[in-house]
């Protein structure tokens, strides 16, 4: 990494070093901060309401406070995020948004409302069947209901404000996709760990500020000379990963993470612009047509086929599944993904993670063994190709 790139990364790292400091400072300065749980939350609507939207992660050092309210078989994101809120560390939030995703989050939303003090609590019934005109109509009505609720925060939200917010977020997502493309073309130019830092900070600071820094980074990386990349190249998939140390551990084992399918990753930015005069309908169409979370139903979509084609597109030598324990939607898809990769001869590794826990020794050991195995396969193939 060049000194120039290192300097460009500093502000992103600073935000991630104390994830909610930026938002807390904004709240102290009088700005309303809106916490939201996942990327099915229309940040555009919160931004248009004059709020600073920040994503709620499980940045808690334990789950003791939450354990009395949620069973141990709720995923670590749910338990650790609730714990963080119960600890008072999210008290600066003026409102909280829970879009519908999985069984765990739908119940968490109610537990949260009944136990976490203060602020407006908004649930949003994101359709599960994302591919129907009925769903667009229903979701638009839901967004309208939420828009009207949000009027209580800073006054009514006009169509122009919303259209401007959508334009800003579209620009930001396009810039994130550019970053991913630059890395796929030249993986040695920025580590996967640093990429995740850029991604995570995008959920924790004003989008305008992030976009400015990001565009500079994009330009720098696109014009950077080809950098030597470690081998093997790995594609990472899972529900989400809130801790860049996991990607760091994979790269410490000698791999380079070239692309991902994570909700703290490419999936968050796989939202396409919609040509539509009505901004609420545009939002509805954007969020329903995006690359889906495993909790959604898109009739012809196959996670197995998708992970294979995306791993190939990134020229990955192997796939590492970061499986958040107790994430049911994802667990149902895993056998199909593994099979698709197996049939295509792409090696894969499944490792269970707890969002709020740092990678354990076993994680390092298993990833190192996998890296060695993939490298042996990969090296063997290269030898055959040259003989």
């Amino acid at each position: 990494m060049t000194p120039q790139t290192a300097a460009l990364l500093e502000p992103f790292e600073a935000v991630c070093a104390d994830p909610y400091a930026t938002a807390r400072a904004a709240a102290d300065g009088g700005r309303k901060v809106a916490g939201y749980l996942c990327t099915y939350s229309p940040e555009e609507l919160l931004h248009a309401a004059g709020c600073l939207p920040v994503r709620i992660f499980g940045y808690s050092d334990g789950t003791q406070r939450a354990d009395g309210l949620l069973q141990a078989y709720a995923c670590s994101l749910a338990r650790a995020a609730l714990d963080l809120a119960l600890s008072g560390q999210l008290d600066f939030l003026s409102l909280t948004v829970f879009p519908h995703t999985c069984d765990t989050v739908q119940n968490l939303a109610d537990v949260w409302r009944r136990n976490v003090r203060g602020g407006l609590h908004v649930t949003l019934a994101t359709p599960v069947n994302v591919e129907s005109d009925h769903a667009v109509r229903f979701y638009r009505a839901e967004l309208e209901r939420v828009r009207d609720l949000l009027a209580a925060v800073n006054g009514p939200i006009g169509d122009d404000d919303l259209a401007a917010s959508i334009a800003l977020h579209n620009k930001h997502r396009a810039a994130m996709r550019r970053l991913y493309a630059a890395r796929r073309a030249n993986p040695g130019v920025l580590s996967g760990r640093d990429l995740l830092t850029v991604v995570l900070s995008s959920f924790l600071m004003p989008k305008e500020d992030h976009l400015g820094l990001l565009l500079e980074l994009d330009s720098a990386l696109e014009s950077a000379p080809a950098a030597p990349a470690p081998s093997p190249k790995v594609f990472v998939a899972g529900a989400l990963c809130q801790n860049a140390d996991y990607i760091g551990a994979i790269e410490d084992a000698g791999c380079v993470v070239v692309d991902d399918d994570l909700c703290t990753g490419s999936r968050a930015f796989a939202v396409e612009e919609q040509a539509c005069d009505d901004p609420l309908e545009a939002l509805a169409r954007m969020y329903l047509s995006r690359r889906p979370c495993a909790s959604k139903h898109r009739p012809a979509y196959s996670f197995g086929r998708d992970v294979l084609s995306r791993a190939r597109q990134a020229q990955a030598d192997g796939v590492i599944f970061l499986f958040t324990k107790f994430c049911d939607p994802w667990a149902f898809d895993y056998p199909d993904m593994r099979k698709a990769l197996e049939e295509a001869g792409v090696p894969s590794l499944l490792v269970e993670i707890e969002q709020h826990v740092a990678p354990a020794a076993q994680f390092h050991t298993r990833v190192a063994a996998f890296a060695e195995m993939v490298e042996a396969l990969h090296g063997g193939a290269n030898e055959r190709a040259t003989s």
């Binding site: 069984d103 019934a125 229903f138 049911d328």
Partner: protein, 405 residues
Amino acid sequence: MSGERVPIKTAQKLVQLMMEYYMGAKAAESTDRKIAWITSGAPVELLHAAGVIPIYPENYGALCGAQKTAVELCEVAESHGFSRDICSYARTGFGSMLSEGGPMGGLPKPDFLLCCNNICGTVTKWYQVLQRYYDVPLLYLDAPFLHGEATPEAIEYVRAQIVDLIDQIGGITGTPIEQDELYERLQLAAKAIFIWGDLLDLMAHKPAPMNSFDTFIHIAPIVVMRGEQRCIDYYEALTAEMKERVASGVAAVPGEQFRLGWDNLPVWFRMGALSKRFAQHKACLAAATYASAWAQPIDPDADDMLREMARSYLTVYINCGLEQRVQTLRRMADKFFLDGLVLHSDRSCKAYSLGQYELARTLRDEMDFPVLVLEADMNDSRVYADEQIKSRIDAFMEMLAARKA
């Protein structure tokens, strides 16, 4: 009143009825008659109106659980990469599907699938797996989860999808669903639901003529035969027997002293032992949210029957948030004169279970109502700790006895 536990006579008819149902479905496998696999909360009236045989993988899961064959089927699914932490009904079903085994040699293969997410998001994923494996159409009904009242838009959303389903099912069978036939089926379903609800209400009598452990067994027809005359006939017979019991003071639990409510699915593989344990304490499970889930009324005289169907299927207990659940439990406690509530924290069912600690806290702290939480699973006996469950039940019953004294 004390004495021996009296077996339910109508139970013999149930065995016969369920045998007929499964054998009939198996026999249809090699005919032109279509078979659809359907989730337990989906509008089965549509299938009956189309002459399609409905098959319930969840009911089959329960059957495997009760026959104690579920764990070996779960292990087959796990060997194919399915996590031990996902729903044990789904794992049981996948095990049967992948090994072509299980009771009765597995279920007759589906011509199409009908999934409604009003009971959980898990069925969405379960049916996606089935769709990929059997390569048949998956019809899907999205019923948005209700954190508050059902909005008109949510009801309209479900209604619009039901209209589509009518077309889609007609397209698959080759014969359009006749409106009269559908309305006839809805009338039959409404009637069966009404009788089932009345039957459960008989348990408000002291002593209760029937135990929830009985209703868990007798629930099968209302789940799988709603919309058929034989369902009504069966429950009329059972109701007659229970009314006789009420008239002559026959208790499901002889010497009934305590009346408890049950929340969540049964523990299928320990029904006998749990029933016995509670009975030893003279405790009858007089009400259960699981049994009353199928007593969700449909108004047979509604102006717009499709809207009424949408409203009914959207507002089932488990598709509602914690506020509604607290109210439902509280009403249940009053109506059935309950002394306490048993919450089965079912590791397999996050939709039903997560939130129960909050329900327990609310009932205990805000309403001074005794609650026992049992950590278990409906089908996976490997995560069941016999001694721990027994001692927790004993301690709870002692506490209730002390409260009464």
